[in-house]
Symmetry: none
Subunit: 215 residues, 4 copies
């Protein structure tokens, strides 16, 4: 949680792609005013409501200054959204890996189906056409989520419940990629039942479990 954008501290240790604001005293004030205004705008109208002019007007930070702190409005929105959502990550602990992971898939599915999930989808989509914003989204939002789930996975590996040969990144993508796909394309709903079907298939695999008896 060390503030990765603290400018005067170590401006060199910059996560690649993330701007470090100019020199540095009123910067903090500017930074936070902009993020707060952007949060409000996100609440009111989602990403479409986040306009550089709107942020400038709300926050009292001028457009020129905004462009010194972020490469684009999407980056501001990504950072604002990421910070706001940072506290909402609550890890389940059901006692078993399959229980934890299934519950987590349910939770994320519910999150995607909520208003905040809409904003998430908008940000994800915006990053496609705005590559400069992608690092912000990864650092300020995705990273925290992946770390959290990494904890679950590590626990499961330690317990010997999951296949240790599988990379945690792969596991995450298999569990949540389907949800993301549905969120974006909207070809299927994001209900708890669907979430369970997905986690079930992901945990046990698509192949037939012939093992037990004769086929």
């Amino acid at each position: 949680m060390s503030a990765p954008m603290s400018p005067e501290a170590e401006p060199a240790r910059v996560p690649e792609g993330i701007l470090v604001h100019p020199t540095g005293a009123r910067s903090r004030r500017v930074h936070e005013a902009a993020l707060r205004a952007t949060c409000d705008l996100l609440d009111e109208g989602g990403l479409p409501a986040v306009t550089v002019d709107a942020i400038a007007e709300r926050s009292g930070v001028s457009k020129a200054t905004l462009y010194k702190h972020w490469p684009s409005k999407t980056a501001v929105a990504a950072e604002a959204f990421g910070r706001r959502m940072a506290e909402t990550v609550a890890l389940p602990d059901t006692g078993t890996a399959r229980g934890d992971l299934a519950e987590q898939v349910r939770l994320v599915s519910a999150f995607y189906a909520s208003p905040a999930g809409t904003v998430f989808a908008q940000l994800l989509a915006a990053c496609v056409s705005d590559p400069g914003a992608a690092p912000y989204f990864r650092v300020y939002f995705l990273h925290g989520r992946r770390v959290a789930i990494g904890v679950l996975w590590e626990r499961a590996v330690r317990r010997g419940e999951v296949d240790p040969a599988i990379d945690v990144e792969t596991a995450i993508d298999i569990l949540f990629g389907p949800l993301v796909f549905r969120l974006i394309s909207g070809h299927r709903p994001l209900t708890p039942e669907e979430a369970d079907a997905i986690s079930g298939a992901a945990l046990y695999g698509l192949l037939r479990h012939t093992s037990t008896g004769a086929d």
Copy 2:
């Protein structure tokens, strides 16, 4: 594959959300000219190059007419892209389900990593902020793909190689959702190795295969 937009044929059987242009004789000419021009634009500059004005200028179809045929430029691009890609679906046949599915994941991964994959990502992203275009993308692109993979899955089910309790939709999302997630967010590369890791984990499941010994 009867032209689904032929108006006088069956104007009633409209896939929901897909516009059927008003009456309809010169319509066909207009429709195809617009799609052809849009394809060219997609080739040259991806979705950002697809502008209503550009389509109009290239195709000789006026803007007003374009808006009578499609709800937005994204819809035109989705239909154009979908039609163009319709023929490229080639199903592997390796003899086993796990071989077929793994190969298909590799193929799709390669597709996503290609220039056309970039356009795919742009369209997917655009549909988030342009709901009117989503049906076009689903009908003209996604549908064909899902049907094709459905064939693979059916074959696998018939062979008894995969778990028949798993819905084909769920299977598809688990196999390709991770690829889509990576394509959009760019947090991980789309290499053949990664594709294999994903298909492997999806086929065999995340849980530890205790099967060998006593359970």
Copy 3:
């Protein structure tokens, strides 16, 4: 009042610039339906509300047919307005020429200040950018007015009250030109008092009346 556009009668005796509709039986119906619809539109929103599409929709007359009967929408509006206003010309008879003319100036001033006067101004203005419509406005509206005032003038000439050397056309323009100028440019109001000031100055001339005797 003889229908000057009756086609089968004498299609040759066409006032220059006025279209004579094709051959001729349903023509009358079309003609009148269009004019009636146009009148309604003029009432509701003035000339800006008169759109070719709007006339077509209201009247049930197709656009193509409208263009066979009139060169432009302004022409339709001019004819419609002219016919509608034809009956409103009421000539004053006060006993003296100066009384008649002054009263007429007051009446016309009041007309210009009324809603119908707004439409008159719009039509006049439209004729500048739509030369094809000008003949319609002259024939169906201005002509009747000028004829009516010509009667007044003739009477005044016969009575020996006005200068017989002055052309009636000149007299008309001097009396009403100022009103038209004000109507269009809006630099001065169109009140009864102003009307009297204008007719007074026009009747007695701008020069000082030294005639009587010593001053």
Copy 4:
């Protein structure tokens, strides 16, 4: 003659209806570039050639900026035309009021019959359907003309040649209203002879000069 649009000078003393652009340093450059381009367009194709897009392209001033400086393209054209014509007002001095006024009517009549007169008519007409532009036309064109003629009239009043009871505004309208009427409606030509007929009738009045004694 003091630049009436200099913003920082006295932004309050605004002729009603005339926009005063927001703040204002580069404003002057923009303002003049737009007016110059508009003048060129007026020369080449009259008011119909004056298009917001055309002005923007020619002048390098963006459309959005144009709309911040003027309420409509007609307003730009009116200001451009007015400024351009400002220097052309040359007052006659024949020694007598009737000579001066008659000559002025001839001059204005000739002006109306010239290409510039066509533009004048177009602007006058456009102001009917574009009320926002009318103040511009009055302030930048009509006002100068009326002031100039006011000088003539004052001189005539001082000389005791004209009726001092007649308001200068009324006199102006009676002398030039007929010309404007003819210009717009085109019912009569604008020849020098007609101009003399008009000024003669206006100066001496319509009533018969009878009266008293010998002529």
